[in-house]
């Protein structure tokens, strides 16, 4: 069974992520110990809350080094919501903070153009790159559930999905084996589970190929 570690750095409710991964047949383990995460075939970086505080808590647990090390070792990584943002070089949230830097680009406030911030609710996702393993079998325009005030500004060639809230923003990103989604797949019904199943499947194939 594919083992996926969900990194617990003290922010957010992680049980729904674990349950969703178990529902798609993965073995999910919530952990804040680098040693435990090191044994996993894939890593999920979840997150709710503010960027700078999350980075402090990640560093306190040595999880920043763990993520960098596992990524270098070719282990697939999926960031969810704030977890996606943390993968980037920096964020402007609350005065600014550097991130994990696995992805190029910055995280800035969403340009909602008068719409409510945070952007909360179901929004359709357009898949820009169907060759990515993440959207396999998911129809273009299928809605996913979002809760966020900031958006990532990735390299254009690393955007695999977009959504709109005032502006059109990148909501799914991939660079090699590093993935991230701005929406909450664990709260996005059947399509969200399909996306998590796709990630778990990618972890399993990566393991076999290694």
């Amino acid at each position: 069974m594919t083992r996926i570690a969900i990194l617990n750095y003290g922010m957010g409710n992680l049980r729904s992520v674990a349950k969703a991964l178990e529902q798609v047949g993965a073995e999910a383990e919530v952990t804040d110990e680098p040693e435990v995460a090191r044994r996993a075939d894939g890593i999920v970086l979840p997150g709710v809350g503010a960027f700078p505080k999350a980075m402090v808590q990640i560093r306190e647990r040595g999880l920043d080094q763990l993520v960098e090390e596992r990524s270098a070792a070719g282990v697939p990584i999926l960031g969810i919501c704030l977890g996606l943002q943390l993968l980037f070089a920096s964020s402007t949230e609350l005065g600014g903070s550097p991130g994990l830097g696995l992805l190029e680009g910055e995280v800035t406030e969403i340009a909602a153009g008068g719409l409510k911030v945070p952007h909360i609710g179901w929004s359709p996702v357009e898949w820009e790159r169907m060759s990515s393993p993440l959207p396999l079998g998911i129809d273009p325009g299928t809605p996913f559930y979002f809760v966020h005030s900031f958006a990532v500004r990735p390299r254009p060639d690393e955007v695999i999905g977009t959504a709109a809230h005032g502006e059109r923003f990148a909501c799914a990103v991939q660079r090699d084996k590093v993935f991230g989604v701005q929406f909450h797949p664990e709260k996005s019904s059947a399509a969200g589970l399909a996306l998590l199943a796709n990630f778990a499947g990618f972890c399993a194939r990566t393991l076999t190929a290694a």
Binding site: S16, K19, K116, I120, W122, Y145, H184, K187, A190, L193
Partner: protein
């Protein structure tokens, strides 16, 4: 308009009351997680969970069930029932619920409401439950002299962004929604309004979708789903005008 299947928890089981009467309960699932999982797997975009014991008792009683529901389903949930102080609200949000639904306390305690909105404005739904046009309080066991439309207008001015409106007379009857009352209340505010009560068939949902103003963004359905009058998918389509 978004469909919110309702899960009412009483004594750890999923039940439906008729017209809010605790003596007229129909018990549907021994474990409310089963009901929640059924609606979520059917494609529910959101779940509306009510702790009936909490609503009557004045403090949440079934948060462990809520926690299990939040973890088990792959859609967001909102939770209400007995959330009348900051500690209860924090405990309810700590279950993994996206939103809290508060009733009595918003009307009776303006300090509590102001603090709650300051901390969680987008996660707060204020429930306005109405009998004969007047707001009902304390788990529907008391009726006040407050006019429903006036209450909504005033609470909207105080910063409430989302209401839940329920005409108690029709709730649990499946005899059709209280459209007139809904229009009166929805037009009194620019905030979002979720509607609950009396939905019995797909025609009721189509009527809601076509008659309600644009700020009515959701419909809560309980008994009709439990009794198999229609499926989650059919209800979603009806609310899209199909």
């Amino acid at each position: 308009m978004i469909l919110y299947p309702a899960i009412d928890i009483r004594g750890c089981a999923a039940v439906r009351l008729t017209q809010g009467d605790y003596a007229r309960e129909t018990r549907y699932d021994v474990d409310p997680v089963d009901a929640a999982a059924r609606w979520a797997e059917g494609g529910a975009p959101f779940l509306h969970v009510v702790d009936l014991d909490g609503a009557r008792g004045g403090a949440p009683q079934n948060l462990e069930s809520v926690r299990r529901i939040a973890a088990a389903v792959s859609c967001p949930i909102q939770i209400g029932g007995g959330l009348r102080d900051a500690a209860s609200v924090e405990a309810a949000l700590g279950t993994g619920a996206e939103r809290v639904v508060i009733g009595t306390a918003a009307l009776r305690d303006s300090g509590f409401l102001a603090d709650l909105l300051a901390a969680h404005v987008e996660r707060v739904v204020v429930s306005v439950d109405v009998r004969g046009g007047r707001v009902s309080l304390a788990g529907w066991t008391e009726t006040s002299e407050i006019d429903a439309a006036e209450a909504v207008a005033e609470l909207g001015d105080r910063g409430v962004r989302r209401f839940l409106f329920t005409p108690i007379e029709v709730d649990g009857t499946m005899e059709g929604p209280g459209l007139g009352e809904l229009l009166r209340v929805a037009e009194a505010t620019s905030a979002e309004v979720l509607y609950s009560g009396g939905v019995g068939d797909l025609g009721d949902l189509r009527a809601l979708a076509s008659a309600a103003p644009a700020n009515v963004t959701g419909a809560i359905v309980g008994r009709a789903l439990y009794e198999g009058r229609f499926t989650v998918a059919e209800a979603k389509a009806a609310l899209q005008g199909a």
